[in-house]
């Protein structure tokens, strides 16, 4: 809801930031081709485009991380150029990047203030002041941890909150958010929306990047669309429909309907009994059947990822039994899990999912090498064949399959990680936020692929914080709260309200409706 009902066709406020004819090339790719983008004070501009359209590259140019090959950037009408991130910060531009770069060994407060900590005499860091300000910021964004926490003890969503706090810790005029809600659950997302409203009312210019159209229409005032590194159009969000915006972005219309999951559900494949961990989760019991898609919903910190990692052999549960096809299996390492046909697509793609530094095809074949090789010897032709097949299925956009996976856009990296695990043809696949950062068209492709594989007998556990995805895809949903199973819901019982109610622990339905 825009606070300023725009007077029709009146000459608008002049832009605070304006990019014009910006071009950026990388070896083999033109990431941006003479694009333009304007940001206005007190307004949210949504930048939309498919995976690899050049959104994050634009952000990196605006924050001085990349230097454009051509074009101009103006702030308040004055042409400027940023030689380094420091210059951009001085010009009052701050950003929450898509892939957050934080320091695991430092505290939350140190991470927030690294580089601009409050100082005392002799240039010493004023630790007390730093923690006070950090605590205030964290409270402001509704973060459920203290400023003294070690960063490495936080999950990915909470780390993302630290990145948000870090971006807000500087007094900037321009705030850029590159897919800020991708890692968050609805509770944190609501807090973030409020925060955006506050920033707007302070007259800041906001650039907001997202693949979720409901939120774009909720908080944006304007939109700009890129396709394949080129500018396609911009305007006021009130003047365009969701369907038209999608068409503009993809170049065709996209069915946003979830695939019909009328597949047969077979016998029990996986049974988990009494899984328990000293700190993260307790009393987890459920079973999963052949061809079933089982959704796991919950708030950030509900222990879903922690439980899944225990199931995959990363961490050790203190108690509990896991049966695969009726036989008790002790899974001590991911290698054990994989050999039992259980695979896991992790949430943290940069660290756990992709092996950055290796080419795309090698990432895809890494867990399938035993299939693409002969008696331990690599067969490149087989590897390329497998990589080609899965990257096509998932609509990967890349310069070549031999390209370092680290040079891909965020969403395309995610596609590689999904491809890598689907290519193993497992019995059970655990997907942790599978479509995080994936654009609307490719998301439909991933969903379709998932239900197709389920129909062929693959059992899927899908951890997701996106309610439409959970409701649209799951045959059954388990809601977790505080490390325990709060509810198990059948397809007929699913509704956004029920999910939120169980996740938040509101027992009475009337209160749930009010919340």
């Amino acid at each position: 809801m825009s606070t300023r009902p725009a007077p029709p066709i009146s000459p608008d406020v002049s832009p605070m930031v304006s990019m014009d004819m910006i071009t950026k090339t990388f070896p083999g790719v033109k990431a941006l081709d003479e694009v333009k983008l304007n940001l206005y004070p007190g307004q949210v501009t949504a930048l939309v485009g498919e995976n690899g359209a050049g959104k994050s590259t634009t952000v990196k140019i605006l924050t001085g991380i990349y230097q454009p090959n051509g074009g101009t950037i103006r702030i308040d009408g004055d042409s400027i150029s940023f030689a380094s991130p420091n210059d951009a910060a001085k010009a009052g531009i701050t950003a929450i990047h898509q892939e957050t770069v934080l320091f695991d060994e430092l505290s939350v407060a140190e991470n927030i203030y690294i580089g601009h900590a409050p100082r005392m005499r002799f240039g010493l860091i004023d630790t007390a002041q730093m923690h006070r300000s950090a605590a205030k910021l964290l409270a402001h964004i509704g973060a459920p941890f203290s400023s003294h926490t070690h960063l490495r003890d936080l999950g990915i969503a909470n780390k993302h909150l630290v990145a948000i706090a870090r971006a807000l810790s500087v007094d900037a005029r321009v705030v850029i958010m590159d897919e800020p809600t991708a890692a968050l659950s609805h509770k944190e997302i609501e807090e973030l929306y409020e925060l955006v409203e506050t920033l707007k009312s302070q007259g800041k210019a906001i650039l907001f990047i997202s693949h979720k159209f409901d939120e774009i229409f909720r908080i944006a005032d304007r939109y700009t669309v890129f396709r394949d590194g080129a500018f396609v159009g911009d305007g006021r969000i009130d003047d365009i429909s969701e369907g038209d915006l999608v068409t503009m972005m993809v170049g065709r219309s996209v069915d946003q309907i979830f695939p019909q999951s009328d597949h047969d559900i077979g016998d029990e494949v996986l049974k988990v009994v009494g899984y328990e961990h000293p700190t993260e989760f307790a009393d987890i019991n459920f079973s999963l059947n052949k061809g079933e898609i089982l959704g796991f919903y919950g708030l950030v910190g509900a222990g879903r990822s922690e439980f899944m990692q225990a199931l995959f052999g990363i961490t050790k549960p203190s108690k509990g039994v896991c049966r695969v096809n009726g036989d008790i299996k002790v899974i001590r390492s991911p290698a054990d899990a994989v050999s039992n046909g259980i695979v896991y697509v992790p949430e943290d793609r940069g660290k756990q999912g992709a092996v950055i530094g290796l080419p795309i095809f090698q990432n895809i074949t890494l867990p399938s090498l035993s299939k693409t090789s002969r008696s331990g010897f690599l067969k490149l032709a087989e590897e390329f064949k497998l990589a080609r097949e899965y990257s096509q299925r998932l609509d990967l956009r890349a310069a070549s399959l031999d390209q370092d996976v680290g040079n891909l856009s965020g969403g395309n990296q995610q596609k590689v990680v999904i491809a890598k695990w689907l290519a193993t043809q497992p019995q059970v696949i655990i997907l942790d936020e599978p479509t995080k950062g994936i654009d609307i068209g490719s998301k439909a492709a991933v969903h379709e692929f998932m239900s197709e594989l389920a129909a062929q007998g693959l059992s899927v556990i899908m951890v997701s914080s996106e309610i439409p995805e959970i409701i649209g895809m799951s045959d059954r949903v388990i809601v977790m709260r505080d490390g325990r199973i709060a509810a198990e819901l059948t397809k007929d019982e699913l509704s956004p309200e029920t999910l939120v109610r169980h996740a938040a622990g509101i027992t009475s339905p009337t209160e749930g409706a009010a919340a």
Partner: protein, 333 residues
């Protein structure tokens, strides 16, 4: 529906094989090797003699055997600084066995076994206890050589059987030595292991992202343990060759060789932080270092100047591509 326009084709590779080879580090290094060869042959009339060149290979064959295993270890993100001390300990063990009447086969078996055991010792601390390899192997560097000193003091073991001298002094054919043959065989084995097998791929994956490799179902600690065993084994083989060539064991044998091995690996284009590097690169680096040492030797350059030269060469070859890229960036902007 509009599939033809929508499914974009992603090519397998952008650059042809020829371009990739031409642009590689190995190509640059090969050019350096040829340049040194040419300079050497002009600088000294004795250089271009088959027997002299054959002698020159002893400058690098033993080091290179270890360097191949070390390359894999460094690519995986670990390092072993105790290799020279493993040689000392293995050699001492062989000398000790000699006192009890061991023959050549026993001596070889003992040398290799001690090497593997030392590797296992290092590997245990790194992979089971999770300690950083640089710290562990700095420790064992002193430990292994220390044991040799305790056993030998100022003494030396001598009197190795003449059949034992075959390894370090023997010739296969004309000027081709046994060590050269070993060098070639080991280079091929490691080249295949690193570049053509699943194991080698796992090594690269671990070096680039150990967490990601673990999450991909690779048994990371097992792979690393094997790499320590291999480095130990190679040090054992080098110990056999070196002891055989020298014909005696002193506790100071191979002192400082670990740094020459690491230099060779890094010169060969292996990233000291892990994740990238090739065996052909290490092979060429071995020749470069051998040629430089030999060439300077013919010119009667003292040893200390030689190590200065090797140091400069290392920094120069590493800085060159960086400078090149900076110059290229300046030209385009």
């Amino acid at each position: 529906m509009t599939d033809a326009t929508q499914t974009r084709h992603v090519p397998d590779r952008l650059n042809s094989r020829a371009t990739r080879i031409f642009k590689s580090w190995e190509a640059l290094l090969l050019a350096v090797a040829i340049a040194i060869f040419v300079i050497n042959s002009f600088a000294s009339p004795y250089f271009l003699s088959a027997w002299n060149l054959s002698d020159a290979t002893f400058n690098f064959t033993e080091k290179a055997m270890i360097a191949f295993a070390m390359a894999l270890l460094i690519i995986s993100g670990e390092i072993d600084l105790s290799v020279a001390s493993i040689i000392a300990l293995a050699s001492t063990a062989m000398g000790l066995a000699l006192q009890y009447g061991a023959g050549t086969p026993e001596l070889v078996i003992i040398g290799l076994t001690v090497g593997v055991l030392c590797g296992a010792f290092n590997g245990f601390f790194v992979t089971v206890l999770g300690l950083p390899s640089i710290v562990v192997t700095i420790g064992t560097m002193s430990l292994f050589r220390g044991i040799s000193f305790i056993i030998l003091g100022d003494d030396a073991f001598r009197g190795y059987p003449s059949s034992f001298s075959w390894f370090g002094q023997g010739y296969i054919y004309w000027v081709f030595t046994v060590e050269m043959l070993l060098f070639v065989i080991i280079a091929i084995i490691y080249g295949v292991l690193l570049h053509k097998t699943n194991f080698g791929r796992a090594v690269y994956a671990i070096g680039n992202n150990p967490t990601g490799a673990l999450f991909s179902g690779i048994r990371v600690q097992r792979v690393k343990f094997i790499l320590f065993l291999l480095t130990g084994l190679m040090s054992g083989i080098a110990a056999v060759c070196l002891t055989s060539r020298l014909g005696s064991t002193r506790p100071s044998i191979a002192t400082g060789m670990e740094l020459e091995v690491v230099t060779m690996v890094v010169l060969g284009g292996v990233n000291i932080l892990g994740g990238s590097g090739t065996i052909p690169g290490v092979v060429i680096a071995a020749f470069v270092m051998g040629l430089v040492t030999f060439g300077l030797g013919l010119l009667n350059v003292p040893g200390i100047v030689m190590s200065i030269f090797i140091g400069l060469l290392l920094i120069g070859v590493i800085a060159l591509p960086r400078l090149w890229a900076m110059a290229a960036a300046r030209r385009t902007s």
